[in-house]
Each structure stands twice: as C-alpha cells, then as structure tokens.
C-alpha cells in the first residue's frame, strides 16, 4: 500500500485531462438530456467522494457523516430557491401568503428568523460553503484537539448524522419534514426545470467538480498534503516533531465539508428538491463506498467510483430491484477484502504494467538488441 506521495506527477495530470474530457465532452455528446441530468446528479456525489479521499485517504479520518454536509449545502440552496418560489402572488391562496407552502400547512404564520437571510443570493452562496465548514470546524475542534480519532470519530459523526435527520424530520414546519423542500422553480427568474437549464447546470457542475479536484490536487501536493499523509501513518511522530496535528486534521475535515456543501447545492439545483434522505446514515455510508470503490487514495478514482456505483444502482434497481442490495453488500465486502485500493489500485497494479509492457515491447521491436536486457529485467 504505497500512497501517492507526490500526486502532481505527469500521470496524474494525464488522468485529470482524461477525466475532464470524459465528463465535459464525451458524456454530453453521447447521452440524452435525461441521462445527462442523471449523470449530473451522480457527479454531485463525487464532490463528497473527493472530500473523502482527502479526509480518509490522505489524512486517515473516516467520517461517516459526510451526508450532513452534503445535506446542509443542499438545504441552504433549497431554502433560497423555495423563498424565491414562494412570492406573495404565487402563494396567495395560503392563509399566510409569502411563506413556503409547507410552513403554511404546519400552521407556521411567519418566516422563521433563520430563513430570513436566504432571501439574498450572495448570502446563500456563502452559506453553502460556510455552514458545512463551520459545523465541521465545531465537530473537528471538539474531537481532534482531544485526540479522538479512528473508530470513535466514525461513530460520533454517524450519531450526528442521525441527530440531524431526526431534527429535520421532526421540525416539519421549519424544514419541510420527511418530504424535504420540494417544488423549486426558478433561480433569479431563470427556470431551472427546462432541459436547456439542466444542461447548463450540468456544465457548471462539471467545471466546479474539476476545479475542486484541481484544488484538492494542489492541497495534496503541497507540504500540507504531506503532513496529512505523515500524520495518517504515524501521528505521534508528527506531533513530536512540533506540528499541531489537530489543526491539520480540522483543516482537512472543514475542506471536505465545504466541498460536500457545494455538491449538495448543485444537487438541489439539478434535481429540484432536497430531502432528509440525503442527510442520514445510509447515504453517508454509501458515499464512503463510492470513494472506496474508486480508490481511497485517488481523487480521480473517486469520481469514476461514484459514477460506476450509481450507474450500477440505477441499472440494477431498474431491472432487478431485489438484487441491488445483495450486489451493493457484496461490493462493500469485496472492496474491503480484495481491493482495498479500489479501481485506482486495480489500474495501478494491472493496467499500468500492461501499458508499460506494451511500450517496452514496441520499443523492443524497433530496437532488437534491447530485448535481452529487458528479459533479464523481468
């Protein structure tokens, strides 16, 4: 298990370019609008998976609550869109016009204070990143400065995901309850439900994702990234060398949370609703499996992992809904037992040598005398 220490190598850049070509050129070219929207939805999960690669792969912090941050980002965006959809004219049949419909159904008569700032688009954009990051900071600060890590951290993040889900479902009048915030229509007067809008949003999403991956690559190749790897492997040594381990962990956890928030916001925009079923424990663990399938050390692998698992989920549950959970469960076990490095690991150990062998064979043909040393080297 040799993690990539210096990821900004040529191969990684080539991988990035190939990924960019696939999601920006190839997929839009071969899929229709409906499927493209579906791919766009999957790619919003990839934000979370990329965050997990940093958090879990690089720094060894497994969070089972990334759905919290995805959901918070999504809810921030949904609140803005819902307020825009609930103008007094559009909601004049309600007993209190001008507030979201589910509030009216739950006998809430005025807009709660925490909804007020979401009238502003600038505030919403800020909140999409800041709310998850601040919550992550609070959790991270409490946990990491007390040196809670590993298994305990996983359990506590999971508990927080459960708490948030119960809270959202319980406070129906303020959050839309189990149905979530639905019936979102326009963004600054621009209808987001048309096919053109969805295609545009797909590209916005794709470029944001590529930007996030590029940023994550920078983080990983910097000194910061190396310290993260070091503290994953031997935390005490890093601490004794004078580094503030907790600060690095908090940073990477907040960074992952902020990224997940962006993913959530893009999800809301593309899918048109947000509900607690994307916040709780089950989606959070599913997001970990996307990352694990792609390869927990590979940023680019995480995107392929997300696409593959979701594509599998959609295909399976369309034709054999019974089998899907079996397949998913088997996938979990197989990835952990047989391919701990996921797709990226398989690529590294099987495909890359194949390329190398092909390359050497080609050069051998061109240059016959070179064959003998190559054979010895093997």
């Amino acid at each position: 298990m040799t993690p990539l220490l210096n990821p900004l190598k040529k191969t990684e850049l080539i991988g990035f370019v190939i990924l960019a070509a696939i999601i920006v050129i190839l997929l839009p070219a071969v899929t229709d609008a409906f499927r493209l929207n579906l791919v766009g939805k999957y790619l919003t999960y990839a934000f979370v998976a990329v965050g997990l690669v940093l958090c879990w792969g690089s720094a060894g912090i497994l969070s089972l609550g990334q759905g919290i941050f995805f959901g918070l980002g999504g809810y921030c965006m949904a609140m803005f869109l819902k307020l825009e959809a609930s103008t007094p004219e559009a909601t004049k049949i309600q007993s209190t016009p001008g507030i979201p419909d589910f509030m009216d159904w739950n006998q809430v008569t005025e807009l709660p204070w925490f909804w007020e700032p979401f009238h502003s688009f600038a505030f919403t954009l800020l909140a999409v990143v800041a709310v998850p990051a601040i919550l992550a900071f609070v959790i991270g600060f409490a946990m990491f400065t007390r040196r809670v890590g590993g298994v305990y951290f996983a359990i506590i993040t999971q508990a927080i995901a459960a708490i948030l889900t119960i809270l959202i479902i319980g406070q129906q009048g303020y959050t839309g309850g189990v149905n979530g915030i639905t019936d979102l229509r326009t963004l600054h007067g621009w209808d987001i439900r048309t096919d053109t809008a969805k295609t545009i949003l797909y590209f916005v999403n794709a470029f944001l994702l590529l930007g996030v991956i590029a940023l994550s690559m920078l983080v990983r190749s910097s000194k910061l990234g190396r310290i993260l790897v070091a503290l994953r492997d031997k935390e005490d040594r890093v601490r004794f060398s004078g580094y503030d381990v907790a600060a690095y962990k908090i940073f990477v956890f907040c960074f992952a949370a902020a990224i997940s928030g962006i993913g959530g916001a893009m999800f809301t925009l593309q899918v048109g609703f947000m509900s607690p079923s994307f916040v709780g424990i089950v989606p959070s663990i599913e997001m970990v499996i996307y990352c694990a399938v792609g390869g927990r050390y590979s940023l680019i692998g995480a995107v392929y992992g997300t696409l593959l698992v979701n594509w599998g989920k959609t295909t399976f549950s369309e034709s054999f809904p019974e089998l899907w959970l079996f397949a998913m469960g088997a996938l979990f076990i197989a990835v952990v037992m047989a391919f701990p490095n996921g797709l990226a690991g398989i690529y590294k150990s099987h495909v890359q040598p194949l390329f190398k062998r092909l390359a050497t064979r080609n050069s051998d043909r061109r240059d016959a005398p070179a064959e003998a040393p190559a054979a010895i080297a093997e």
Binding site: A142, V151, I155, I156, A159, G170, I289, G329, I333
Partner: protein, 308 residues
C-alpha cells in the same frame, strides 16, 4: 402544564413513565451487551449487529408459529425455547462471519466497519426475500399478555416485566461468563494484552471466534426479547444500531458496568423528556447531550486501563 392533574395522578404518571424508561433501559442493555463484548472487548465495529438481533427475532417468530401449529401444549414455554434457539442461530452465524470475514480485518478497524455494513445490507435483503417486506409479529403465550394493576391508576404491562427479568438474567449470565469463568478470564487476558496472552498458551484466535459468537448470540436473544414489545421487519435492526453504539461508547467501550450505567442514563433521560417534549425532540436532545459529553470526555463514563 401540571395544573390539570392531581398529586396522585402526577405521581402515577411519573411512575408509569419511569417504568417505560426501565423497559427502554432493558432493551438498551440487551442490545448493548452484545456490542460491548464485540466492540469493547475485541475492538471490532460490527455494523451488522442489528441484523443479528433481527435474526433472533425471526427465529422466535418461526418458533412460535411452529409450536402454534404442531404442539400447542408447549406454547407457554415456546418463548424460552425460541430464545435458546435464537442464541445459537445468531451465535453460529456470528462465528461463521468471524471465520470468513472479520478474522482478516482485525488490524483495519475502519475497514471492518465497511465490510460489516455490506454484510448488514445482504442480511437485510435476505430477510426481505425470505420473510417478506412486511413486519411480522409474534404470537405470545397467554400468560405473557395483559397487565398487572398496581393501584387503580397504575398498571404495569406483564411483557415489560418479562423483558426486564430476561435482561437481568442475561446481564448476570454475561457477568458470570466474563468475570467468573475460565473462558472469561481468557477473553479479558486477550483484551488486555494479546501478545502476552498468546505467549502463555491461550489460543487467541479461538478466543476471538467464541467471543464474537457470544456477542452475536446475545444480540439474538435481545432480538428474541424484542418481539415481545414490537414487531419485526427486515430493516428494524438499522433503527437501533446508532443508539446502541452510542450507549456502548458513552459507557466507556471496555467496561461492561459502564455499558449498563450509560444505558440507564440514556433511557431514563429519553423517557422523561418524552413526557415534556415530542418524541423526536426528546431523542435529538438526548443524543446531542450524549455526543456533547463524549466530546468533553471521549473515553466515556467508565474507563478500564488497557495495554494495546
């Protein structure tokens, strides 16, 4: 809020609410004991713990159906037979899982978590395929139903009393096994210092396997007891797993007494608050408090010094 009630009524409400809390406490203890053994003693995160519980519940269901149709005379004791069967069924499955899966992952606790989550998905779907997606209820023997009138207001349901009795018996049994038997001594030795235990001739792998089996078996009994107060569906296990983990972590993972104490605290807090607030808010507040305390005191309530 209290103005409408007289003093005696208020007293009765608190007594009944306290009793409901005690039943919840019993359920928590039953669920958490198995997990405390597996997670606390072995350090394995078994996300499929809830599914082992449900296996016990389904065994009880099958058993009660079987007795009802073939041997109605044995019905009064069917429940206890079912409980023993549930123990062995879950325990055997647990040992199989340990042999096939967990054994390879002792060094990678986070990966165990993912693998057992996968296992839980498979088990859930298996239950759904075999028993159907609908929740099933177990027919209880006559004498377990109804309630005991204590005063003219307070009534105590018998099944709650039985759940409490079972909990008491199982807690006692676990205590005897862990602290008064050779096997328990071996388990504790392996937990405290694996290498040293191996060096003095304890077969640590065997101990691991039986410990895991014991934990899963207790989960099965918990599931069996559970059928008395609720119905069983394929994904019921999932509902309890987070609570159970919190109970174990809050109690201090390595301490069995801590597990019991934390189950008591959490269940009483929750059932008392349920009277004043809505159920979901009571749960949120309880969990938040637990998480908050864990952030201040990550090692939990009771700590056992362990050399890893």
């Amino acid at each position: 809020m209290f103005a409408d009630y007289s003093w005696s009524e208020l007293g009765s409400i608190f007594a009944m609410q306290g009793f409901a809390g005690l039943v919840l406490f019993s359920v928590f203890v039953l669920m958490a004991l198995g997990l405390a053994i597996i997670f606390g003693q072995m350090g394995v995160i078994n996300m499929a713990h809830g599914e082992f519980m449900i296996l016990g519940a389904y065994v009880t269901y099958l058993c009660s159906n079987f007795f009802q149709s073939t041997a109605p005379a044995l019905m009064p004791i069917s429940f206890f037979i079912a409980m023993v069967l549930a123990f062995f069924a879950s325990g055997a499955l647990g040992m199989l899982v340990e042999m096939g899966l967990i054994r390879f992952l002792y060094k990678r606790p986070l990966d165990t978590l993912l693998a057992t989550w996968g296992l839980s998905l498979i088990l859930q779907q298996a239950y759904r395929t075999i028993f159907g997606a609908r929740e099933v209820g177990v027919t209880l023997p006559e004498w377990m139903m109804g309630s005991l009138p204590l005063t003219d207001i307070i009534e105590i349901p018998i099944n709650g009393l039985i759940v409490m009795a079972i909990t008491l018996a199982i807690t006692l049994a676990v205590y005897l096994i862990m602290f008064r038997s050779r096997f328990g001594a071996k388990v504790r030795a392996v937990v405290q210092n694996r290498q040293m235990a191996g060096a003095v001739g304890i077969d640590t792998e065997r101990v691991d396997r039986f410990t895991f089996g014991l934990g899963c078996g207790i989960a099965g009994v918990a599931g069996s007891a559970f059928t008395m107060i609720g119905s069983t569906g394929p994904s019921s296990g999932q509902l309890y797993i987070v609570d159970t983990f919190l109970v174990v972590v809050f109690g201090g993972a390595t301490s069995l007494i801590g597990t019991v104490a934390s189950a008591f605290t959490i269940s009483q807090a929750q059932s008392t608050m349920e009277f004043f607030l809505s159920g979901s808010m009571a749960k949120v507040l309880t969990l938040l408090t637990v998480v908050g305390i864990l952030m201040l005191r990550p090692q939990g309530l009771f700590v056992l010094k362990v050399r890893r």
